[in-house]
């Protein structure tokens, strides 16, 4: 714990009060809160933070909805369930770099990709999937969704299979519709698993960088650059480790804040059903 977690945390916190730069041979100096003060005037960091929140909010919401729908379908005894389960899990097993290239750069290619081809066949105009600032954000979310919906599905499926059959049978005997059973029995019982799944995925999604680097390189402009990509650029490309560490701490604080907020909201929702 000390070596793996506490030491790097304390070490990087210490970095934020220094002038350490990988590529400049300058004497190590204590700079106080200089790096932290720089954060407040750093518009690029703010922009990438907003992008990241959009990726996490949009991506996790879609992934949860799709994962829930797929898990419910599989749990209902879909034929060839085992085969389907394996097929659904395949995207998760592929490296994000490969996913970025195959899905992001090839499937969503504006000139040669099958999606624009299909849109054309339907008489619809081609979409600027990676060159329009707004649409490019959606593309990143869709690529991320393609890869990570199976994780949601898997976790929710485990939750569904743990729900006891008696209350559902009793509700059916009482004449409840399938929707009423889902809304008033299954969904509330799934909430603990759902909260866990959403949190796990959100924590991971906040660190998104690999797909972005391959699909858009953070562009057009800075439209799809995430905080992690920004921190990588500042730290690894510009060598400014001290400021990169400060910016990384901002992400850490945001993640902690969002996690607490999500837990609070989820518990309020859960309390409504109890």
């Amino acid at each position: 714990m000390l070596a793996l977690s506490i030491f790097p945390l304390v070490f990087s916190l210490g970095l934020t009060f220094t002038n350490v730069n990988l590529f400049r041979r300058v004497p190590l100096r204590f700079v106080g809160l200089e790096n932290w003060a720089r954060i407040f005037s750093d518009e690029a960091l703010l922009e990438t933070l907003v992008n990241t929140v959009i990726f996490v909010g949009g991506g996790v919401a879609i992934q949860y909805s799709l994962g829930l729908a797929l898990a419910v379908a599989l749990n209902r005894g879909l034929r060839e369930q085992r085969l389907m389960r394996v097929l659904f899990l395949l995207p998760m097993m592929v490296s994000p770099i490969a996913v970025g290239f195959i899905i992001g750069r090839m499937v969503f290619s504006e000139g040669f990709g099958p999606i624009n081809d299909m849109l054309g066949a339907l008489g619809l105009p081609a979409v600027a999937w990676v060159t329009s600032p707004g649409v490019a954000k959606l593309t990143i979310i869709l690529v991320d969704t393609w890869q990570w919906t199976p994780l949601m599905m898997l976790l929710i499926l485990v939750g569904l299979q743990g729900i006891p059959g008696e209350p559902i049978q009793a509700a059916r005997v009482d004449g409840a519709s399938e929707w009423q059973i889902f809304r008033h029995i299954v969904f509330p019982l799934l909430l603990p698993v759902s909260i866990t799944a959403i949190l796990i995925r959100a924590l991971e999604a906040f660190k998104i960088i690999d797909i972005i680097r391959v699909v858009t390189g953070g562009g057009p402009g800075r439209a799809t650059e995430s905080v992690t990509a920004y921190v990588y650029n500042v730290g690894a490309k510009q060598g400014d480790l001290a400021y990169a560490a400060s910016a990384a701490y901002v992400l850490l604080f945001v993640v902690i804040g969002v996690s607490f907020l999500a837990l609070y909201v989820m518990r309020r929702v859960q309390a409504r059903y109890e």
């Binding site: 000390l2 070596a3 030491f7 990988l22 590529f23 400049r24 041979r25 750069r105 290619s109 504006e110 000139g111 040669f112 624009n116 081609a126 600027a128 999937w129 990676v130 060159t131 329009s132 600032p133 680097r213 858009t216 390189g217 953070g218 562009g219 057009p220 402009g221 800075r222 439209a223 650029n233 690894a236 490309k237 510009q238 060598g239």
Partner: protein, 522 residues
């Protein structure tokens, strides 16, 4: 108590590990040296560390077979294009008795890894195959060993074109690098399509169809070919370029901007060489970006996201009538996947009808379009870190790889990443012997020579902090091309960022290095 003891023991162990990992690199070298040289029967004495910037202090190892018995030389370079180098290094190893290990680093991480390793005195390789635009950081930063005279002679120093000898391979008048690749961005066109559409073009525009001399002609040709079916495929476009951020956006933009903003009477381009004030937001650069934005629509869909490979494949795949690319298009047009073999025209990049004179602060024009070929990226070359444990062996290998025979073979071999930049690689007979028709070989090598020998040619930036300057500029260009900001707004923002970077790195020192890179004294 037991618990406390365990905690302190663990803490001590961690501190010991940290201290060990931060240990003096020279200590490691002292330990490593006997294991690498012990097996050699009579190894030549090698200095442990070169004095960076002082040539000639590495003894000539001679040319005797087995001269590096038992020595392992590590080469690091970009993944995916080192196969040829590996073969040649193996030949060298057989002859010298050394062994060579080639570490391939993904292209996108190469600069970061090399800089990070050298900055922290961490060993990365004895020979580094790297792009020229990191030269400011590497050679200017004092990380590299100066090339000894004997290595320069073996690499046929005088046969290297002057622009590479003094810009790519040297810094501050001192030679560090060994030659490998010579890069300049050029203009390619579909000669067959130009011939077939000459009448239609003249009827549509009133002008004769000829390879573009200026960016305005290039735009008119691009518009015509985009609006007319010429390729025989479902789709054909007027041009293909390199605008992608974090890819080749820097090179794509600078190739165009050079004609608008490089005044023939002024050596400076990126900065004012007297004040280090950025020029990238002056009217020349702004107009270049505006004009570029206006022709993006004549490229294949999604071209804003095109890097090197998408660009090259679009052109040799027959999708575009014009291309701005490095010299690789020549050999690639002969590859089995190409549909344009024998149908490609070669020339220097077009120029601008008018250029911005930054001294007179007004637009000016000459006899014809102002051309300023851009040596973007500046070519791959081989450097030897001053911390190498085997300096003589490293320079011996690097000079062998840069010898005329090896480079000539590499230049005509696809996938080596070697473009012509030496007398041997620009010899028409070489290309003819590789199967090229003589007229095409002559056109190709003439176009490269015309670009490299051009008096107004611009060599890529070689300043410490280049990755930062590049990031800021590429962001601005991408924002302007995608319509998020006007060209002026975007470039003003980039210029502010450049000033911030320059001030942080030390304006006087940056100015000194910039002037040195331009060959200015005083």
């Amino acid at each position: 108590m037991k618990h406390h003891l365990r905690l302190w023991t663990a803490l001590f162990a961690i501190l010991a590990l940290v201290a060990a990992s931060c240990g003096d690199a020279e200590d490691e070298a002292e330990v490593a040296e006997p294991t690498t040289t012990a097996a050699a029967p009579e190894p030549e004495p090698e200095p442990e560390m070169a004095d960076p910037g002082t040539p000639g202090n590495i003894p000539d190892p001679g040319t005797a077979a087995g001269r590096f018995d038992g020595v392992e030389v590590v080469v690091a370079g970009p993944a995916g294009q080192l196969e040829y180098m590996k073969d040649k290094a193996a030949e060298w190893a057989t002859e010298t008795g050394a062994t060579v290990r080639v570490d391939e680093i993904p292209f996108g991480e190469l600069n970061d890894k090399v800089l990070a390793a050298l900055s922290t005195d961490t060993f990365i390789a004895d020979v580094i195959n790297i792009g020229s635009n990191l030269g400011g950081d590497l050679m200017g930063g004092g990380f590299m060993a100066a090339a000894p005279e004997w290595a320069q002679q073996r690499a046929d120093w005088e046969g290297i074109l002057p622009i590479f000898r003094s810009n790519q391979l040297s810094f501050g008048g001192v030679a560090y690098g060994m030659p490998w690749d010579g890069d300049v961005l050029m203009y390619y066109w579909r000669a067959d399509a130009f011939e077939a559409n000459a009448d239609a073009y003249e009827a549509a525009t009133g002008n004769a169809l000829r390879p573009a001399e200026s960016w305005s002609e290039y735009a008119e040709i691009a518009k015509f070919f985009t609006e007319n079916d010429w390729s025989g495929q479902d789709e054909g476009y007027g041009l293909v370029e390199l605008p992608m951020r974090n890819n080749q956006g820097w090179n794509g933009f600078m190739t165009r901007a050079a004609g608008y903003a490089k005044a023939p009477n002024d050596p400076g381009f990126f900065f004012d060489p007297e004040t280090m004030e950025p020029r990238i937001n002056n009217p020349g650069f702004v107009r270049a970006l505006e004009d570029w934005g206006a022709v993006i629509e004549y490229g294949p869909p999604g071209m804003l996201n095109f890097g090197w490979i998408e660009n090259a494949l679009s052109f040799v795949g027959g999708l575009a009538a014009q291309d701005i690319q490095w010299g690789d298009i020549g050999p690639m047009s002969k590859s089995p996947d190409s549909v344009v073999e024998g149908a490609v025209g070669y020339g220097p990049a077009p120029g601008a009808d008018e250029y911005w004179d930054p001294v007179a602060e007004e637009w000016a024009s000459g006899d014809g379009p102002n051309k300023a070929p851009f040596l973007g990226f500046g070519g791959w070359f081989n450097l030897v870190p001053a911390t190498s444990n085997h300096l003589a062996a490293a320079f011996d290998l690097a000079s062998f790889l840069g010898s005329p025979a090896v480079l000539a073979e590499a230049a005509v071999t696809a996938g080596t990443g070697v473009n012509p930049g030496t007398a041997a690689t620009l010899d028409v007979d070489l290309w003819v012997s590789a199967g090229w028709p003589e007229d095409e070989a002559k056109a190709y090598t003439d176009a490269i020579r015309a670009s490299l020998d051009h008096p107004n040619a611009v060599f890529d930036m070689r300043l410490p902090g280049f990755p930062e300057y590049k990031d800021a500029l590429e962001l601005a260009v991408s924002e302007a091309l995608s319509g998020q900001h006007s060209a002026q707004e975007a470039l003003d923002e980039a210029a502010d960022k450049w000033n911030e970077i320059t001030d942080r790195l030390g304006r006087d020192e940056q100015l000194r290095i910039y002037r040195e890179a331009l060959g200015l004294t005083g």
